[in-house]
Amino acid sequence: MKKLIGNKRGVDLFTLIVTIIGISTLMLILIGLTMKYNLLFDTFKPVGSRAAFILEAYDDADGVLLYLDNAAKLSMQKAAYDLARNGFYSSASGSSDCGSTKDYVLWKKDDVKKVQNEQRCEPEILSCIPQDYYSFESYFNNELNSRITSYNGVSEFKLVQSNYELQLLQPAVTQDPSCSVAGQGCETRPCCLGKGLECRGTPGQEYCVATKPGNQLQLVGIAQQPLVIDRENLHYEVMPSFRENIDVDLIGDFGKITSKAEALIGKEEEELKATLTAYNDMNEGLRWILPVGGYKRDCSMGNKCYIEECTIDVEEEQCSPAPTPTSIAIPTPTPTPTATAVPTPAEECEMVTVQEPGKLVQRYCSVTANILVKVVDDKYKLPGDSEGYKKFVTIDGSGNPVVNEYAYRFALSWVEMGEIECV
């Protein structure tokens, strides 16, 4: 080494060796770095793309929630319509113990039964006035599940069926932009007096308070399982819960209708109509209607209640042949064809009373009244109409739109007892 360094030529050789080693080392480093950075380049994405990627996931979830909100709202409207149509029962027939007429679920149906140890019959009253409106939830679940199925068929994100714990509420006040809402001041804008708000507080510190429930239906659906968005390097979960309002006072209407229905039982047609008119005059936003042909009184011969066996006096004509004189029988000559016929003596008839077995029955008439309660809402008033009613559009079997009036339907059936007779 000394020779190399000390020698003038050795210095040249040293430089040469260092240069070669240096270049080789740098070449190796270069190759390594190039390979490493080439891998890195392939993963290069535009600036902010990772942030945008996350925002995209939020936006996708928002799209699913938008669908869910709308599906929940539509399902609520359809469920409320079906529930009203079926008189707060879960189906048109079979769910009420009283059964149903053609289109109306019966809320009362009398049967007639013999009174034990007495010679008379009396109505056996079966009352089926609904006690709650919770069938709404089964209608809603059916509707929402079918819409979730439709969505899952076209979307890459899947909503879970039957995923909700439901709470049916009646929000305290309605949000009407023309008047103040609860908790806000009422100095500049009035409170919604007609909608259950009153102005309270001292001058300058006035506020609106809710004094009665509003006229909307609110449904809160608390999701049990999350909506999952899974992508490369991204897992995002959000609970797809919802809170939706519809413009239907289902809970309020339930109370108003069920409390008044009983008073309609046993009334003659005209009296019933007068009662409905009185209900309409209460201005509760409901229009009580007895449809044309909706009052039927059946007093046919078949409406009989069997009590027991009886005997019935029947006037009968009894005839007996005239008595023949007691005489020696003289052989009568065989009449010749030319001989004239001898007339037989006439029968003697008389009316006698005989007792025949019969059935002791009590006749009765069966009365059925179909009641329709429409919801008044002038926002739905058509040109030429004096009053508007809430409407709901559906599609019939052939795909044509059917605009239905939102109406509560139920029927009442009772009996009027008649005479007892042995027949």
Binding site: F44, A52, L55, G63, L66, G153, K379, Y380, P401
Partner: protein, 218 residues
């Protein structure tokens, strides 16, 4: 050692070493991205994604908008049509549109814009399907129209309304809020799925341009 004025071997090696290090420096600079297409792309923001996200948020906002009542809707639709602005009149039979709005309050009363679109589904195959396009375009323009001043120099006051398309699944009728679209450049397109009254789904699409007319205004 080279004599003075001579080009010696040590000088040659010095130049080689200098040149080699210069080369490596340049190569390393190259590795770190200077002048490379991939890295150039990496330094740019992707405006397309941002525009699509904005369109999506905008569409959600439109779909969640509460619909006005009958009187307000008819008055607005009529006044826009009567204003004489071709942007607002184009492709609409206003009488058919107003007739449909008058006779079918059930499609918009108490509903959001999404609920309105969902309700229209019921009429897609009915006898009034001919009026559907007019009603949809007139209502969309009436609810979301916006007066924009001097969007392009010389054009003066103009009106903007969103370009929204509705496609019913399984149906032959599609609805458009605009008969022709004047969006400069590549638009941001957002699509949302909505439920219908018939339980099928439908898709709603918003096309949003980069130009000033589509920018949200306070």
């Amino acid at each position: 050692m080279a004599r003075k004025g001579q080009f010696g071997l040590d000088s040659l090696f010095s130049y080689i070493v200098f040149g080699t290090f210069l080369l490596f420096t340049l190569m390393l600079l190259s590795i770190s991205g200077c002048g490379r297409e991939k890295v150039e792309r990496g330094l740019k923001a992707d405006a397309g994604i941002i525009l699509e996200l904005r369109a999506s948020e905008q569409l959600s906002a439109y779909l969640r908008t509460e619909m006005p009542g009958k009187e307000g809707l008819i008055e607005k639709a009529r006044s826009l049509y009567d204003s004489g602005k071709e942007d607002l009149r184009e492709g609409i039979d206003i009488d058919d549109a107003i007739n449909f709005i008058e006779l079918h309050p059930e499609v918009y009363v108490g509903k959001t814009y999404a609920g309105f679109i969902s309700s229209l589904y019921s009429y897609k195959d009915g006898s009034e399907k001919g009026k559907l396009q007019d009603a949809f375009a007139a209502v969309t323009r009436a609810v979301f129209y916006m007066k924009v001043r001097e969007i392009r120099p010389g054009l003066g006051e103009t009106y903007f309304f969103p370009v929204i398309k509705v496609k019913f699944d399984g149906g032959s009728v599609n609805l458009d809020s605009a008969t022709h679209v004047l969006i400069a450049g590549e638009p941001g397109i957002a699509t949302k799925i909505l439920p219908s009254y018939g339980r099928e789904t439908m898709t709603v699409q918003l096309m949003l341009g980069k130009e000033g007319a589509s920018l949200p205004t306070p």
